[in-house]
């Protein structure tokens, strides 16, 4: 994996602990700025099991809104495992996140390999009947992609939308990671071959994915931040390889992460099912190379 970490790191600190270690608190001095016009959101991945850990993560998300009142949640796919009957949608989504939705938190889903394509019409996922779509919040534009089926039509659409975007921050999210050091699946190199040139050409800043049932913050690749978060319901314990490509990894419990984009900085915390902070940092907007 090539690592081109030429980001501006002035006035920015990044704390990385050994793989799997949990310290239970943020990096020294870390605090969300809670700026008036900031973009606040959470991410979850591979959540839809309907089992107790998913419900525990959902409860933790609700609790952590006291620290960062995020207003929407990005879903990395595998939103509903197994059956997709109305009772499944209730047990694996509507019930665990009921209180978040009652607090006006909206969800924006992408599709995973365990999802039924019919989920695009499930209204609480806000996909508008589409496999891929984009939306803007403040200074940030989000692009939800369908990595199950990255056909030329979707690639054309993505290029058109990215080239037209005037947002300061551009964030893409989808299921299958193009960088990962998890053992079970590994990264998808063919997807990387097609997506990464577009990300670089049009200045994508951050990429989120799931699929691997762990948390990983990857060393920036070509000035792009990559996160893998696929353990908000499922978990594959001790699946991460020790790797210099990982800034921070966590594979011993479920987790989610919450973000605040304020001006040119992105603040985030990844938080475990039981409320331990497993990663946190302030990341500056990458300097894009054209």
């Amino acid at each position: 994996m090539k690592s081109l970490c030429s980001l501006t790191l002035a006035a920015v600190w990044v704390i990385a602990w050994p793989l799997g270690a949990v310290h239970g608190q943020s990096a020294p001095g870390f605090a969300f700025p809670l700026q008036a016009d900031s973009v606040r959101f959470a991410i979850i991945g591979d959540s839809g099991t309907g089992d107790a850990p998913q419900y525990a993560v959902a409860a933790q998300m609700l609790k952590q809104r006291a620290t960062l009142p995020f207003t929407f949640v990005l879903m990395m796919g595998d939103n509903i495992y197994g059956g997709h009957k109305p009772a499944d949608l209730k047990k694996k989504f509507a019930d665990p996140y009921q209180q978040l939705m009652a607090s006006q938190v909206t969800f924006y889903a992408s599709l995973g390999n365990h999802d039924n394509p019919a989920e695009v019409s499930y209204q609480p996922f806000n996909m508008g009947g589409k496999r891929y779509y984009n939306f803007r919040k403040g200074n940030t534009e989000f692009f939800a992609l369908d990595s199950n089926y990255m056909d030329p039509t979707q690639l054309d659409w993505l290029e058109k939308q990215l080239s037209a975007s005037t947002a300061a921050w551009k964030i893409c999210y989808y299921h299958h990671p193009i960088y990962s050091d998890a053992r079970f699946h590994g990264p998808d190199p063919d997807l990387r071959q097609r997506l990464e040139p577009l990300f670089q050409k049009y200045g994508v800043d951050v990429v989120f994915s799931g699929h691997e049932h762990v948390y990983e913050r990857i060393q920036p690749q070509h000035n792009i931040y990559y996160f893998v978060l696929g353990n908000s319901g499922e978990l594959r314990p001790h699946d991460l390889k020790r790797s210099p490509n990982i800034v921070k990894g966590f594979d011993t419990d479920q987790c989610f992460a919450m973000f605040e984009i304020a001006g040119n900085n992105m603040y985030f915390e990844a938080i475990s099912r039981v409320g331990e902070i497993v990663d946190s940092a302030v990341l500056p907007k990458p300097e894009q190379k054209k």
């Binding site: 949608l89 390999n113 039924n116 019409s121 089926y149 056909d151 590994g186 190199p189 063919d190 097609r194």
Partner: protein
């Protein structure tokens, strides 16, 4: 010497003619395939008329609607079988296109891509008119292969299952046709 040049020119013209003929044949097969898919989509659209909109009841019934649509399609094409859309000539053309997509350095990348997406190991899945079971992951298709195949629209897609290429209806969640052994085996 002049005769040799003349012979070479004739040979060159003949080869160009053969290549052009192959291009024309390929284009004709692609057009035939897309016409067959369009006929299927037309049938599906006519059957969707009697169903509630996908977004009815906040979409909670989306998968129920999918199953109802699949039932109607099965009833409308009870004799559907392998090869209806992927005729032997079209299947041969697709196998060639996939081999071309997997030349050189692409092969390893595409195989790793297929592996990383957790392909289901269930050969019994691949019956025409059958639905993909909810319990199994939906197989994906490497983008480089998709770039080499005729472009599909209207919620019909290609999926790789094992070494087979499946023509899949996303709206009905069912298999329309299959080409076995479409992906070359690893050497």
């Amino acid at each position: 010497m002049r005769a040799l040049f003349g012979l070479a020119a004739l040979l060159s013209l003949a080869l160009a003619g053969i290549a052009q003929q192959r291009v024309n044949e390929g284009a004709a097969l692609d057009a035939d395939f897309l016409k067959r898919v369009a006929e299927y989509v037309k049938l599906r659209k006519s059957l969707e008329d009697g169903l509630p909109p996908a977004t009815a009841d906040k979409g909670k019934e989306a998968t129920v609607r999918q199953q109802d649509l699949a039932k109607k399609i099965r009833t409308a094409r009870p004799g559907a079988q392998r090869g209806d859309i992927f005729s032997p000539e079209i299947a041969a053309r697709f196998r060639t296109l996939i081999v071309l997509a997997m030349q050189g350095g692409n092969a390893g990348r595409i195989r790793q891509s297929i592996k990383s997406t957790e392909p289901p190991d269930a050969p019994g899945l691949l019956g025409v008119n059958a639905q993909f079971p909810d319990r199994l992951p939906m197989p994906s298709t490497p983008p480089t292969i998709l770039l080499n195949l005729p472009r599909l629209t209207d919620d019909v897609d290609y999926r790789i299952v094992g070494r087979s290429l499946v023509l899949h209806d996303m709206k009905a969640g069912m298999i329309i046709d299959v080409i076995p052994d479409a992906v070359p085996g690893a050497k």
